[in-house]
């Protein structure tokens, strides 16, 4: 199965993505991360209202194979947390860029978006 990286998203080297929607940064993990982890068994997310610095750890994702930390792609305040996935983290794999979103962040420094990778740059990094 070919892994996809939508052009309208921004990416981090640690395999998070950001989708801009209604002025919020919607954050999830990329198809590559999902594929690398294998069946996801555990997800830990911060509470709504949690303030994050770009690059700060905001959660943990685990599979039978590995444990990974989640890092904030941008600075801001968590305004929504995808609680359903905490109970059923395996669902992330079904639609990582849609229903697999993890948190929504109200950005405090929107200019940080420009520092993230484009789909092409992210894929180049994976290839390298």
């Amino acid at each position: 199965m070919a892994l996809t990286y939508p052009d309208d998203l921004r990416y981090t080297p640690s395999h998070e993505y950001v989708a801009l929607k209604d002025g919020l940064a919607v954050v999830g993990i990329t198809a590559f991360a999902v594929d690398e982890l294998g069946d996801i068994t555990y997800l830990e997310l911060p509470p709504v209202g949690h303030q994050l610095q770009k690059g700060e750890r905001f959660g943990t994702i685990e599979s039978v194979k590995a444990v990974s930390d989640l890092y904030a792609p941008v600075s801001g305040i968590v305004t929504a947390v995808h609680e359903e996935l905490v109970d059923a983290p395996e669902k992330i794999a079904e639609d990582p860029y849609g229903l697999g979103w993890l948190v929504k962040i109200q950005m405090t420094q929107p200019e940080e978006i420009a520092t993230l990778l484009s789909a092409a740059d992210y894929q180049a990094q994976l290839g390298g």
Partner: protein, 354 residues
């Protein structure tokens, strides 16, 4: 890096991984699918990395008996036994299965990572009249409640008559194979050794007949659920069978064997730590090396851990101080920033029905 003779059968379908210096399939369709196939139907594994040692010569079992803590001299051809190689200190050099064959031949299946060490040890401790040969056959494991029925469709004799740990040569339409009713999943099943080209044809044929290809990730979950030790994690040269929960392998009524004196002393003195089963709750996995705490103080460490798909809860094995090793004892495992409650319990987390 050695390659499995079966690699060409699946290299485009599997996510490959490194294990004991071999390139092997880590995962095919995914852990959940593979795990369920083995528990409910049949899964097929490539285990060609395991050390396949063929012994020929006079009185092999009699000589081998001195190297293992079990009684094996009486094993009839066509039967096998799970046992251990011990060093003088009673430490476990490897775990293995000894298969007694016709005309005095003996086959050993040992851990991939221990093969070289085992060969050297056997050479040192067996008489020169016994010839050791490392075989490079294809080794397949067909495991699950439907494994016997699937293999039967290719076999020229009745498999139902073969007991657990029994083994035999089979003539199949694809060629001759050696099949043993052994495995590492907690299910009924077979381990099948054959020539590489026969093994390749057999791989495809068994999938055709309904087996699901499975990788090492699923194999590790399945073996841990069944309470089967992984050498290098749950035991090593500094753990003895008494500490590792393998006291049942030691037969005190047999004659001398390497490690016996040390084990007897340890039996009298008692072991400092014991391997126990840890039963967790929730979904968070405790992993190799994580500290185990009692009343906030470290009393041991996890050697294997996973999320049991059969039970829907985290499970693991850990060495803990003997005072805390009683079944029912409440402990915690430090999982990164959280102390997770666990209960000490049986090491066999899953047992197949019937």
């Amino acid at each position: 890096m050695p390659n499995s003779p079966l690699r060409i059968c699946y290299e485009n379908q599997a996510k490959l991984t490194e294990f004991a210096d071999w390139i092997l399939p880590g995962q095919f369709a995914g852990l959940t699918v593979e795990h369920q196939a083995v528990r409910q139907r049949a899964g097929l594994f490539d285990i060609s990395h395991m050390g396949q040692i063929q012994l020929t010569g006079p009185d092999i079992l009699t000589h081998l008996e001195r190297l293992v803590p079990s009684k094996i001299a009486h094993l009839s051809p066509g039967m096998a036994k799970y046992t251990l190689l011990l060093n003088e200190q009673g430490g476990i050099l490897d775990d293995l299965i000894v298969y007694a064959q016709g005309e005095g031949g003996v086959k050993l299946i040992v851990n991939a990572a221990c093969t070289t060490k085992d060969l050297r040890w056997l050479q040192q401790h067996l008489p020169a009249t016994i010839h050791l040969e490392l075989m490079h056959g294809a080794l397949l494991a067909l495991q699950g409640p439907q494994a016997t029925a699937i293999l039967q469709t290719l076999a020229d004799s009745s498999l139902a008559a073969i007991p657990r740990f029994g083994h035999l040569m089979l003539t199949t339409p694809l060629g001759t194979v050696w099949a043993a009713r052994t495995g590492y999943t907690g299910e009924d099943g077979w381990e099948i050794q054959t020539e590489p080209h026969v093994g390749q044809a057999l791989w495809h044929e068994l999938l055709q007949k309904g087996a699901t290809p499975c990788g090492l990730v699923a194999r590790d979950v399945l073996r841990l659920e069944a309470g089967l030790h992984l050498y290098g994690q749950d035991m090593n040269e500094s753990t003895t069978p008494l500490a590792a929960g393998l006291g049942w392998v030691v037969d005190w009524h047999k004659g001398d064997f390497i490690g016996r004196t040390a084990l007897q002393m340890q039996k009298q003195a008692g072991v400092a730590q014991k391997l126990v089963g840890l039963w967790g709750t929730g979904r968070r996995i405790f992993r190799t090396g994580y500290p185990v705490l009692a009343e906030g103080k470290p009393v041991g460490h996890v050697t294997s851990g996973t999320l049991s798909l059969s039970l829907g809860r985290p499970i693991g094995l850990a060495y803990v101080d003997t005072a805390w090793a009683q079944e029912g004892t409440a402990l915690t495992v430090q999982v990164r920033d959280q102390a997770l409650p666990v209960t000490v319990g049986k090491r066999t987390f899953y047992r197949r029905a019937g």
